[in-house]
Symmetry: C2
Subunit: 345 residues, 2 copies
C-alpha cells in the first residue's frame, strides 16, 4: 500500500488544536500507512501530543506557523492577508504534492476561497461544492450542495451530480455500479418546482454518465433510495441543519420522558445499552466531515465545534478520499462530457 | 358564544369520505356551538355517519354533489371544469357567509386556485401562502410558506411575516404580545444568504408592525425561540417534509433497537408508557392542518393520507381560526401598512 499523508490544519477549531491533534493521532494509530503533517503553532501542537503519540514520530511532522484564520475573517480579505496561516500552508502542502488531503475545522468561506486559489478547480467545474453523507434506513445518502453556493445555475447543479457520483465511488465497496442521482423538489411530477429545479431537470436528462432518477421530495431524503441528492446550497444548508435540529430535539425529548419519575428513570437505567446503541445510530457526529469537492485536491471540512469522535470521522473521510483520489476520478468522469454539454464560468 | 359553521369537503382524502366525516363528527361532539356542512356525495357521506352522529342532526347538514377534484387534476383546468365539485361548493359556502371556514384534504394546487377565485385575496396580499405549526422545545413555531409559492419576491415574504403573525395571534392565549418573526437563512450574519434573503432582510427592517428578529438558521428552527419563521415555499416545503422524514426514521430506529432481542423486547414492554408519551410528543399527526392564508376566508388543508387523529387536529385548527376570524385580523394589521410600503401584484 502506498503512503498517504494528511495535511491537518490544527488551528481552525473553536477550542484550539487539542481536539484536532488528538483525533489525527487516533486515526494515525489505526492506519500504518498514514503520515500526518500537523500545521499550526508548534508549541501548542506539541503540548497536545501524548507520550504514546511520540512513538509515531517517524510518521508525524509539524509545519509551524503562528498565523491563524479566525471565524469572522472575511474570505476576500483572508486570501490576501493571511497567506501564511495554518489553513493556507496546509493547502499548499497538497498543491506541492507533499500531502494528499487537507482536513480543517476552520472558517468555511475562507477554506473555500483559499482552496480555489491554492489548489485550483478541476477543469469543467466552476466552483467548489460541499457534500456530506446522511444516515438513512439502508446506509447513507450524500447531499450536495450544503451551502457553498447559494444561488446556483442549472449547469452548476449538473456539476454537483457528477461530483456527488465521484465522492460516492470513493466511499463505495462496489465501484462498478454507477451511483444514482435525484434532484430535490417539492413534488415528483415534472410540472412541480421552481424555475431553477425545472431547468436543472431538463439539463440533467441531457447529460450522459449520470444515473439520473428524477425528483425526490423532502420526506424521502432519509429513505436511502438514492446515492446522491442534488440541491441548491441554500436549500441543502437549511435542510441539513434543520435535520440535525430535529434529531437533537428528539433525543432531548426521549431523555425527558425517561427521567420523568422513579419508574421511568429505573427503566432508562435498565435500557442504557439499547438507548446508547440507538443514539449511536442517529448521532450526527458520525457523519461529520464534509468534502469541498471540485478542487484539484481533497479538502475535508470538520465542524468547528466537533468533538473527538466527530473529528475522527472527518479525518477518516479524508483518508478514504485521499486513497481513492477523488479529484482524479472526477476529472476522468468529466472527460469530454462537460466541454460538450455545459457552459463554463 | 356565536355559532360557527365549518364547510367540510368530504371527498378530498385518499380513501374517500370516511376519515373526514368521522373526524368532523368527533370535533362536533366536543364543540356545542359548532355546526357542520358536509359537502360531497350524500349517500357516501350518510354511510359514514354513525347512529351517535345522527343525534346531532340539527347541527349537521349535507350539501350533495357528485363532482370530485382528484389528486392529478390540473389546477388551471379544475377551476374552469369542476365548478360543482365538493371543493368548490365548500368554498362557496364560506364566500356566501353560510360557513366560517373550509377544511379539505384535496389537491393543494386546486384548493389554492379555487380559494383565490371564490374567496378572493385580502387586499394587499398577492397570493395565498401555506402555514403550519412545528413542535419545539417550548411549544410551537409556525413556518410560512410551506409550498404555495416556489419563487417568492421579497415583497411576498414580508406579506408572509404579516400573515404568520395573524395566524399566531389566532392561536395565542395572550393576544397583546406581538409575535416574533425570523427569516430562514444559511447564517446569522447579514452578509450571508442568497439574493432573495438579503433583499427580504432589508425590506423586513423597513416595515412597521412586524417584530422582526433577523435571521434564523436551520438548526434553530426547532428551538422555539421565535413565533414565525418566514421562508420561500420551495425551501419550506423540503424542510418540513425532510423533518417529518427524520422523525419517522428515528421512531423506526428506536423500535428496531427495542426489538433486537428478548431482553430489549422485555424492556420495551415495560417502557410502553414512556415510549408512547414520547411518540405522542414528536408525532407529526398532531401538527396536521396547514392554513391557506391571505384569503378572505379561513381555508385549512389536511394531509390527503391523514388518519383520524391527524384529521381531527386539522379540523380543530379550522375552528380556532374561524372563531378568531384570521382574515379580518390580517386585514386590520395590513391597514395602511401594505399600501404605503409594498408594491402590489
Amino acid at each position: 500500500m502506498t503512503i498517504t499523508t494528511l495535511a491537518v490544519d490544527c488551528m481552525g477549531g473553536d477550542s484550539g488544536p487539542s481536539v484536532m491533534v488528538q483525533a489525527a493521532c487516533e486515526v494515525l494509530t489505526g492506519n500504518p500507512d498514514l503520515h500526518l503533517n500537523l500545521v499550526g503553532d508548534e508549541p501548542s501542537i506539541r503540548a497536545c501530543l501524548t507520550r504514546m503519540d511520540q512513538l509515531f514520530l517517524t510518521r508525524l511532522s509539524i509545519t509551524h506557523t503562528d498565523e491563524i484564520v479566525v471565524m469572522d475573517d472575511l474570505p476576500s480579505k483572508v486570501i490576501r492577508q493571511k497567506t501564511n496561516s495554518s489553513m493556507a500552508l496546509a493547502l499548499q502542502l497538497v498543491a506541492d504534492g507533499k500531502a494528499q488531503a487537507v482536513v480543517s475545522s476552520g472558517n468555511t468561506g475562507a477554506l473555500m476561497a483559499f482552496s480555489r486559489m491554492i489548489l485550483k478547480m478541476v477543469p469543467g467545474i466552476s466552483r467548489p461544492a460541499i457534500i456530506s453523507s446522511l444516515p438513512t434506513d439502508s446506509g447513507v445518502t450524500r447531499m450536495i450542495d450544503l451551502g457553498a453556493n447559494v444561488d446556483c445555475s442549472p449547469e452548476q447543479m449538473v456539476q454537483f451530480a457528477l461530483m456527488g457520483a465521484a465522492i460516492t465511488m470513493a466511499n463505495a465497496d462496489n465501484t462498478d455500479k454507477l451511483p444514482s442521482v435525484a434532484l430535490l423538489n417539492v413534488g415528483s411530477e415534472s410540472i412541480k418546482g421552481n424555475e431553477q429545479t425545472k431547468n436543472t431537470h431538463e439539463l440533467m436528462q441531457k447529460v450522459h454518465n449520470i444515473n439520473y432518477l428524477g425528483f425526490i421530495e423532502g420526506n424521502d431524503v432519509f429513505n436511502g433510495d438514492v446515492d446522491v441528492i442534488v440541491c441548491d446550497g441554500f436549500v441543502g444548508n437549511v435542510l441539513i441543519k434543520a435535520s440535525e435540529g430535529v434529531v437533537q430535539m428528539i433525543v432531548r425529548r426521549l431523555k425527558q420522558h425517561f427521567s420523568r419519575n422513579l419508574l421511568s428513570r429505573l427503566l432508562a437505567a435498565l435500557s442504557t445499552k439499547v438507548l446508547k446503541s440507538f443514539h449511536k445510530s442517529v448521532d450526527p457526529d458520525r457523519h461529520n466531515g464534509a468534502s469541498l469537492v471540485g478542487l484539484q485536491g481533497v479538502v475535508i471540512k470538520s465542524h468547528g465545534a466537533a468533538n473527538l469522535k466527530a473529528t475522527v470521522a472527518a479525518i477518516q473521510e479524508a483518508v478514504r478520499e485521499a486513497n481513492y483520489d477523488t479529484p482524479n476520478e472526477l476529472q476522468r468522469r468529466l472527460g469530454q462530457q462537460i466541454s460538450q454539454t455545459m457552459d463554463h464560468e
